[in-house]
Amino acid sequence: MSSRQKKRSSVEQDVLRLIMDAGDEGILQSELWKNMGVDSREGSRAILRLERRGLIIRKKELHSGRWTYRLFSRRKYATIDDIKDIPCTFCDLESRCGESEISPENCKMMTAWIISMLGEGAGR
C-alpha cells in the first residue's frame, strides 16, 4: 500500500469512527471537520468513498441557512447489554465448552439460567 493510500484509508477510518460515534442522531458534515484534523476537501472525498462502499448514508439538511449533509453510519457498534445475563458471555470455560466434559447441555450455569426463566406456572 502506498503512503497516499495509507493516509486515505486512515482518514476514512477516522471519519467512519466519528460517524459511528454519533449513533442514531448522525452528525453534520460541518461538525465533522471541527472534530477532525483533516481539511474539508480531503474529508469530503473520504465521505464519498464511504458512501460508495455502502458504509454510510448522507441526508441533505438545511443548517444555519446553508445546505449541508447529515451523515449516518449503517454499521452500529455491537452492544453487550442484551447478552450480559447469558452465562456463556463472560464464562472462563467457554473455550473448552463443547470440546470436553463441559457442554451447553450439561452446564450448571446454563441450567440455573434456564430455571430462572421458567417463571410461575411451570408445573412445580
Partner: protein, 179 residues
Amino acid sequence: MEQPPQGGVEARGRESPLDREFMKVIRYLGGEEAVRVVEALRRMGEATDEVLANEVGIRINDVRKILLKLYERGLLSAIRVQDESTGWYIFRWRAQPDQVDTFIRSRRRKVLEKLKRRLSYEESRSFFRCDNCEEVYMPFDEAMERAFICPRCGAPLKGIDNSRAVERIRELIKKLEAE
C-alpha cells in the same frame, strides 16, 4: 520507538459510545477492581503492573490476574521491554478500547452457537424438577434412571413446562441471528 498514548477518554475530550461499552465490559469481566486498574492505565497511557498496583492500591498479584484476563480477551496490549537497572524483562500494558467492538461481536457469535445447542436440547425432551430443591432440573431419561426420585432430598420429581425458557432462548437467537 515510544508510541504516544492512544486516544482515550481524555484525548478525545468526551466519552464515545465505544469507551462506554469498553468500560462496561471491563466491569462485567473483572468488577470494580478491574475498572480502577483500567481507568488508571488509560490516564497513564501505558504502565507496568508494579506502577499500576501502586497507583490503585491493589495487590500486585491481583493486578496481574486482571491484566492477564483482559489481555487474553484482546482488550489490553502488552509490550515487553528490558528494565535498564535490573536487566529483567518487564511488560508495559496499554488499554485497547478500540478492540471492544471485535470482542463483543465474537462473544455474540459464540453465545449464539451455545444457545442453539441448548435450545435443541430443551426442545427435544421433557424435564423434571423437585418441589424442594431449586437446582434440580433433569431430562426424562435421567429422571427415569433415578426412578423419578430427587437425588438430593428423596421427594418425587415432577414434570414441568419449560416453554417460557424455550421461548426466551428462541427470541435471543432470533435477535443475534438478525445481525
